[in-house]
Subunit: 462 residues, 2 copies
């Protein structure tokens, strides 16, 4: 039992216990690999934040922020290198982070932490002149809180609510509150104010409406608001998560308060977070990884391959099966054949590859030679494990089988720093937020964020 | 059937039908008494907005708005006569409107419309240079939408959620969207964005925490945000209220979509809204009104009265019974004896009376001569009707009975314009937001708001 297990066992509310952890934990006691992982997730997030540039709903939110906010300020909006107050920087950066679908995800909580945690943490750190270490500690606080709130709210919540919107407000409050130096009691007041603003409904999916980036924008902004208010003495409900008229009472039927305080201080849930590698539907990722592995190991070129069979779970067939001849970049991301074609042609299926070559002749030709087959082993393991299995038949008539047991980006098959850099540079180039030369030069500064005495703007030109 | 009944019956979604009404209805077709009622509610609201000045949670929200927002702008924050952007003006004015508990209420929806509608409408009207007529039309749109959303969400919703927070976001979106000239489709997108931000949990009551003004602040600000985003092309769910993953699916178990479109264009629910007259707990109001009636009709002075028996419903005994000797102004508002003592001493039980004389010797003495008795008729009629019945025994030994069938402020016993003025002037004086001379001078301008060609600041000094 950690000190927090003991505290909870002794009758402190779970909200209060989680708040105390977020306020008090000592970064020096956090294992070095967790801190390094936080740096990885931060650099990966910069790519997602830049990727939102030029996307209509994000630009609409950014224009709203500009019209309602101050003309200048200590904080940075990444897509346009603008300066504003913490509230609007958090709002705009969170909107842009969640629109390219390249931001990280925690599987068990079905929660996208980076899109809400880093925008809030960066804004408050830039406003308060925090050190890089304080920024990393705040980010860890945000992940640990948000993931546990998502796990607590459970599957019943996720049926109707976008957990990244609801749990995200707590994650942002924790990150912002940590940087503002909130006491445990103040942090719990911030949770109370965050929870009583928590929102985000899935109904928009039915219309393909623009709500998704609004959810992250408001989660980050509302959590940040809650933290500043708490710093200035504003009180909130002390059992906002587990109370009789709290968040779970209103929005969940299977909430388990023990998940809120699960191994606080010994389990770092941030390490369970997955990176998104390919820019396609997640159901294509296991087969894409297996194909890439086979081609690399067997030194196969695109022209060597006569056909590919992808052995998949039923969900992949349900979602990807209808897409035979994709008509748009977005639809191509739901085409197994296109994704594997891009892997075969380029070794990558990123934003740029989809945008530039999803319907190129060689990719379209390859697409027609890909088949999906339901596989009992793969289907049985899903969704706990996403196994990738492919069978290649070469032009020479040779059969090559390959498998990966965890898709690229999951904790057991994580991205290297080189791969994260390549992803981030590609996303920035794709959206025209920054060219590769600038991003390449920026990278050492991003990796070394933990060493800064005082956080300034990330991108050079103000 | 109105045109909107027909539209709904023909398969348009209820959200879309309600949005079309808010966008399209013709102010010239609204009965004159409804427009006059809207003016009454507006002037009454100014009092509540000014009453929040100096209250800690309101001032904390105002300071946050100042630190995050622009240094100037076209919109007015009433408590400090500051200027800012529409977002922050709506936020601060809505926070201040709901903290003195003097703002209006719609009984059937358990929704406080003024606190969320007028702040959003005033901010957008001042920013856009709207006319007074457009402002009144927008306010009516806000009331009609918010009340119907509150009725739709029902009692199951109100058990956990503060309807003024959740329905309030729609009310503010309707008011703001009407002033921004949203088309019916855009208005429904605004509803989608408002609903996916809608929040507000009762859990704070358990701690007596500061969330209540935060709920109105965020409802007004979020609704306004949704309207501006919709104007700029941002889309939202088209069935956010009734959809399978919409607001009712997530937050209600007794929602009835027919309530959303109930007699749109023929029933003006704004006319069903009650004014709050006395500054005490609502459970004291019926008896206070009956006492005042008896004293006026019988020309009784405080010194003439030996004892008062208040015949009440059980809820009044439950809530007021424990308060024997109030120790604070706030607690005195839950004391039947104190409330009746102030009525007897001063003919009023307003903010100033409570603040200045709740424990004065003559009031405390009167308090000890007040008894509550459960009355079968009063209890049976509650909560549909709040009957006031008192029996006075005079020093001379005479018995005087009095009753009122609707408490002062309810639609059947509404406030005169003189009474509204006195209330507003009293609230402004109480909070030191404006002195009686200034308020008296201001009154004709407030009553004539519908005649303005272009809305400017309400209070003279900028």
């Amino acid at each position: 039992m950690t000190a927090y297990d003991t505290r909870a066992a002794n009758g402190a509310g779970e909200s209060a216990t989680l708040a105390a952890f977020a306020s008090e934990f000592d970064l020096d006691a956090v294992p070095a690999d967790i801190v390094a992982r936080t740096e990885d997730l931060f650099v990966d997030w910069v790519g997602s934040a830049l990727a939102g540039k030029g996307v209509a709903p994000v630009e609409t939110i950014a224009a709203f922020a500009k019209s309602m906010g101050p003309a200048d300020g200590p904080c940075e909006t990444l897509i346009d290198r603008g300066r504003t107050s913490p509230l609007f920087a958090a709002m705009v950066n969170a909107a842009s982070s969640h629109v390219a679908e390249q931001d990280d995800v925690h599987n068990a909580s079905v929660f996208h932490p980076a899109a809400v945690v880093f925008p809030a943490a960066l804004a408050v750190a830039q406003a308060s002149g925090a050190s890089g270490k304080e920024f990393l500690a705040a980010s860890i606080a945000g992940y640990e809180v948000g993931i546990r709130v998502g796990e607590f709210l459970g599957r019943s919540h996720y049926k109707t609510f976008h957990t990244t919107g609801t749990a995200g407000a707590f994650a942002a409050a924790a990150a912002a509150g940590r940087l503002l130096g909130l006491t445990p009691a103040q942090m719990n007041h911030a949770f109370g104010s965050a929870g009583t603003q928590a929102a985000g409904l899935w109904e928009f999916l039915r219309d393909g409406a623009d709500s998704k980036p609004l959810h992250t924008a408001k989660a980050a902004a509302n959590g940040l608001t809650a933290a500043y208010l708490a710093r200035d003495g504003f009180t909130g409900a002390t059992r906002i998560l587990e109370g009789a008229q709290g968040l779970a009472a209103g929005m969940s039927s299977d909430a388990d308060p023990r998940r809120l305080v699960d191994r606080l201080g010994s389990r770092f849930a941030i390490a369970e977070t997955s990176f998104k590698f390919h820019a396609s539907c997640r159901h294509t990722h296991p087969a894409a990884d297996a194909l890439l592995k086979a081609m690399t190991e067997q030194k196969l070129a695109m022209a060597d391959i006569a056909s590919v069979t992808a052995f998949v779970h039923q969900g992949a067939i349900d979602v990807l099966g209808p897409v035979v001849t994709p008509k748009s970049v977005h639809q191509a991301k739901f085409s197994m054949g296109t994704t594997l074609g891009l892997i075969a042609a380029h070794g990558r299926a990123g934003m740029t590859e989809f945008d530039e070559m999803f319907d190129r002749a060689d990719v379209a030709d390859f697409r027609a030679r890909v088949t999906m087959v339901l596989d009992p082993e793969v289907d049985g393991a899903y969704p706990a494990r996403w196994i990738g299995k492919v069978r290649i038949v070469t032009r020479e008539g040779r059969t090559v089988d390959a498998r990966v047991d965890e898709p690229k980006g999951d904790p057991g098959n994580t991205l290297s720093r080189d791969e994260i850099e390549a992803k981030v540079i590609g996303l920035a180039r794709f959206s025209n937020a920054a060219d590769p030369a600038e991003m390449t030069k920026l990278m050492p500064r991003l990796w070394a964020i933990g060493e800064l005495n005082r956080l300034g703007p990330l991108l050079a030109a103000g």
